[in-house]
């Protein structure tokens, strides 16, 4: 998700094509071509410009509604709703991929959660994440937390550092509520990354943009990416 402004100028984007299964868009204002996944103009008058990332989440509707009870939901376009696919993931899995990266240990359509920190990038296979979460890792010297929400589907990434100290976080067991506990202080953290119990109460972890993507697409745009293993 991108902010569609360049300086003072507002842009409007339209679907315009496809590049190795990642879509291209053109802005109505200049006709420049933009790569969806990078937010970068790759051709036309605005070539080289990059859109600013709009911090966003991929969540289940149930979890989002709990967090944002006063929020608004995009209404389906009545004339197009018959084309919406509720169970599209298994269908997409069957589609061929234009690029394949051999020797990666991952299949092209494996879903990964991709992180970029300090110029380094790493792919976390979703099936591994689902089995092991919360995952704590280090990327470019930064302590990372990848958490799987109480719904078992939503993923968020944080810098697992608070007040200058790296945290070691565990799922709180025997609690009906989803909570992470840090081993040193005993503070409890919710899925929004905020401490709900003393001593860190009120503090929130820094959020990291996490992109859910197919391995081939992530690898194509992050040629130097590493892959998380056990």
């Amino acid at each position: 998700m991108w902010k569609r402004t360049l300086g003072e100028r507002e842009l409007h984007f339209r679907l315009a094509g496809i590049n190795n299964q990642n879509f291209l868009m053109r802005d109505e204002e200049t006709g420049s071509w933009w790569q969806q996944v990078t937010g970068k103009a790759i051709f036309g008058p605005l070539k080289g410009q990059v859109l600013e990332l709009a911090p966003s989440d991929e969540l289940t509707f149930g979890l989002w509604k709990q967090e944002s009870p006063a929020g608004k939901v995009l209404a389906p376009v009545a004339a197009d709703e018959r084309h919406y696919e509720n169970n599209w993931e298994p269908e997409v899995q069957k589609l061929p991929t234009p690029l394949n990266f051999l020797g990666s240990g991952l299949r092209s359509r494996d879903v990964v959660v991709g992180l970029e920190v300090g110029g380094a990038s790493r792919a976390y296979p979703l099936n591994l994440l689902s089995a092991e979460a919360p995952i704590q890792d280090r990327l470019a010297g930064t302590p990372i937390l990848l958490a799987l929400g109480p719904d078992g589907k939503s993923v968020r990434a944080f810098v697992s550092r608070s007040q200058g100290a790296d945290l070691e976080l565990f799922r709180k067991s025997g609690s009906p509520e989803w909570m992470l506990v840090d081993s040193s202080s005993g503070s409890e953290w919710n899925f929004q990354g905020c401490a709900t119990a003393r001593p860190a109460k009120g503090k929130c972890l820094e959020r990291l943009p996490a992109l859910k993507d197919y391995w081939f697409d992530w690898r194509n745009y992050h040629p130097g990416t590493s892959t998380y293993r056990h």
């Binding site: 709009a54 509707f61 197009d80 599209w88």
Partner: protein, 170 residues
């Protein structure tokens, strides 16, 4: 004498005839080459993609020029050609014009219709399975969710959230 004139006219038709064919080919190519390169489920090389975008950028102007010139040539040739060649002229002008129209059309939006003006429902009222995934964004107190079942079809939605213009892409 008459024979000589007829031969002369035939020779005169050869060059404009070839030029006509070339103009039709140019107009069709201006549409077809980028459409062929940018087709789903096929790899696009960086060079191929750049060519496709460059051609699409220039195609609306040049396909119109080519189709217009082909039409002028067809009119010129009309009085001097046989009936079956006139069919070729009509077909050629038709093809060149169709290509000129297609270079102006975003045919990707034929398959995935754009959202003209995004409408919204309150989180309370919307009927959506709680397990369905959404893309979520919040600016200030304005919190919005875009169901992926809709985003996987439309791919891009231009919206403004809490005063911030955003392009929701999937």
């Amino acid at each position: 004498m008459i024979t000589a004139v007829q031969i002369g006219m035939k020779r005169n038709n050869l060059v404009p005839g070839l030029l006509f064919g070339l103009l039709v080919a140019v107009s069709v190519g201006l549409f077809f080459v980028p459409a062929f390169i940018i087709r789903p489920f096929r790899p696009q090389s960086p060079a191929g993609l750049t060519l496709a975008m460059a051609v699409r950028q220039q195609a609306p102007l040049w396909s119109l020029v080519a189709a217009g010139a082909a039409l002028v040539l067809a009119v010129v040739l009309w009085g001097r050609t046989s009936a079956w060649k006139r069919i070729l002229l009509v077909l050629g002008v038709g093809l060149a014009s169709a290509a000129a129209v297609m270079t102006r059309v975003d045919y990707f939006e034929w398959m995935f219709h754009p959202v003209a003006a995004p409408g919204f429902e309150s989180a309370e009222n919307v009927k959506l399975d709680p397990a369905q995934m959404v893309m979520a964004v919040r600016f200030g107190s304005d919190s919005r969710a875009y169901p992926i079942r809709a985003m996987a079809y439309h791919h891009v939605v231009n919206d403004t959230v809490g005063g911030v213009p955003v392009a929701v892409t999937y």
